[in-house]
C-alpha cells in the first residue's frame, strides 16, 4: 500500500512539473505591484482587456502578505522581502478588486481591465 501511495505521489509531482513547464512556455506581459507599509503600490493597475498578464508582486515589508482577489479566485502568499509572479488570465473589461488578506484594512487595490 505504501509503495502504491509513493508511486501515486511521484506521478502527481511529475505531472505538476510537466504542466508547470508547459504553462510557463508562453511569455505574457509583466505588471509590477509592490507591497509597502501594508499597502499596494500602485493601488490601481491598468491592463488591456482580453490579454493575459503576469503580476510581479514584490513585498517590501518585513511581514508576510497574501495577495487575494476573491473576484479572480486568485490567492498567493508573498513572503517578506520576496517577489512572486502570478499569472492572471485574460480579463474582460471591468474592475477586479484585490486585498492583502493579512492587512485587509489598508492593503486594497484593483485591476482595471479596459
Amino acid at each position: 500500500m505504501r509503495s502504491r501511495l509513493a508511486l501515486l505521489v511521484a506521478v502527481v509531482v511529475a505531472a505538476l512539473l510537466v504542466v508547470a513547464g508547459d504553462v510557463r512556455a508562453a511569455d505574457p506581459p509583466e505588471v509590477a505591484l509592490t507591497i509597502e507599509q501594508h499597502r499596494f503600490v500602485p493601488e490601481e493597475i491598468r491592463v488591456r482587456a482580453g490579454t493575459p498578464f503576469v503580476l510581479v508582486i514584490t513585498n517590501k515589508d518585513a511581514t508576510v502578505e497574501e495577495f487575494e482577489s476573491h473576484e479572480l479566485r486568485l490567492e498567493r502568499i508573498v513572503p517578506a522581502g520576496k517577489t512572486v509572479r502570478l499569472r492572471v488570465r485574460a480579463l474582460r473589461a471591468g474592475r477586479y478588486p484585490f486585498v492583502g488578506e493579512y492587512h485587509e484594512k489598508t492593503a486594497t487595490g484593483r485591476i482595471v481591465a479596459e
Binding site: 508547470a20 476573491h70 520576496k82 517577489t83 509572479r85
Partner: protein
C-alpha cells in the same frame, strides 16, 4: 489583534472540523488505538506546511510561481476524493449497525482502510497550513513591538480557538448514538466535499484552465466571504458570496452524485441485507 484572530481562526476552522470528526469516528468504532493514523497524518500535514512555507520563503523560480497553485488545487480535489471515499465506506458500514457492538467494531476495524482517515487529516491540515504557518511565523517575529504583540496574540488565539472547536466536535459527538453520528458525519463531510469541489473549480477558473464567468449572484452584503461567519460557512459548505455559475454547478453536481452514493439506498439496503449470523 482582532484582524489576525479572524484570519487564523478562519484558516484553521476546516482542519479542526475534519480532525474532530475523524478522531470522533475512530472513537466511535472503538478504534482509539488507531488515533495514531490521524495524529501522524496531522503532524505530517503540519510538517509539509512548514516545508512548503520554507520553500516559498527561500526558493524562487518557475516552479514556485505555479507550484503553490498546482499543489493547492491538487490538494482540494484529493480531499474531495478522500472525503467521498470515507463517507461511502461509512454508509456501507452503517448497514450492519444492527449487529452487536463488539462484532461491528471488529468488522469496522478489519475492513476500514485506516490510512484513509490519516490522509483526511493530512489534507485537512495541509490545505491552509502553509499560509497559516507563514502568517504565524511572521506575526511571532514581530511580537517584540506593541502592535506586533497584539497581532501575534490574536493569531495564536485564532489557531487555539479553531483547535477548541475541533475538540468540542470530538467531545460532543460522544453523546450521540453511532447511527446518528454516522448520518450527521456523512452529511457534514458531504457538504465540506461539495464546498471543496466548488472551491477547486473556482481555482481552476482563476488559473485559466476553465473558462471564467461572471458571478451568478452577489450576497456579499448579506454574508461576506471574509467575515468570520462567512469563513465558517465557507469551510463547512463552500459558501461564496459571489459564486460563478461553474462553481454553483460543481457544488450541485457533487451533491447530486454523492447523495445517492452516501445516503441513497441505505434504508432499502438495511432491509434487503439482514445481518448474517456470526
Amino acid at each position: 489583534m482582532g484582524a489576525t484572530y479572524v484570519v487564523t481562526l478562519r484558516e484553521g476552522f476546516e482542519a479542526a472540523l475534519l480532525l474532530g470528526i475523524v478522531y470522533a469516528y475512530l472513537d466511535k468504532i472503538g478504534g482509539r488505538v488507531h488515533y495514531r493514523y490521524v495524529t501522524t497524518g496531522a503532524v505530517l500535514g503540519l510538517l509539509a506546511s512548514v516545508a512548503a512555507g520554507v520553500a516559498v520563503s527561500l526558493a524562487s523560480g518557475p516552479l514556485l510561481d505555479l507550484g503553490p497553485d498546482l499543489i493547492a488545487t491538487a490538494v482540494v480535489f484529493a480531499a474531495v476524493v478522500l472525503l467521498t471515499w470515507h463517507g461511502w465506506w461509512m454508509r456501507r458500514h452503517a448497514r450492519e449497525l444492527t449487529g452487536d457492538v463488539q462484532a461491528r467494531i471488529a468488522q469496522a476495524q478489519a475492513t476500514q482502510r485506516l490510512w484513509l482517515v490519516g490522509m483526511i487529516a493530512f489534507t485537512g491540515v495541509f490545505r491552509e497550513g502553509a499560509e497559516t504557518v507563514l502568517l504565524l511565523w511572521g506575526l511571532l517575529t514581530q511580537a517584540a513591538s506593541a502592535s506586533g504583540y497584539d497581532g501575534a496574540v490574536g493569531g495564536v488565539l485564532g489557531v487555539a480557538t479553531a483547535g477548541a472547536l475541533g475538540w468540542a466536535i470530538f467531545r460532543g459527538s460522544r453523546r450521540v448514538s453511532l447511527g446518528r453520528f454516522f448520518t450527521a458525519t456523512s452529511l457534514v463531510l458531504m457538504l465540506v466535499a461539495a464546498g471543496l469541489c466548488s472551491t477547486g473549480t473556482g481555482k481552476l477558473q482563476g488559473l485559466g484552465w476553465l473558462p471564467p464567468s461572471e458571478a451568478l449572484w452577489d450576497t456579499s452584503g448579506l454574508l461576506s466571504d471574509t467575515s468570520l461567519l462567512g469563513g465558517f460557512v465557507a469551510g463547512l459548505a463552500g459558501y461564496r458570496a459571489r459564486p460563478t455559475p461553474l462553481e454553483v454547478a460543481a457544488w450541485l453536481a457533487y451533491l447530486a452524485l454523492a447523495t445517492p452514493l452516501l445516503f441513497g439506498l441505505r434504508w432499502r439496503a438495511r432491509r434487503a441485507l439482514p445481518v448474517p449470523p456470526r
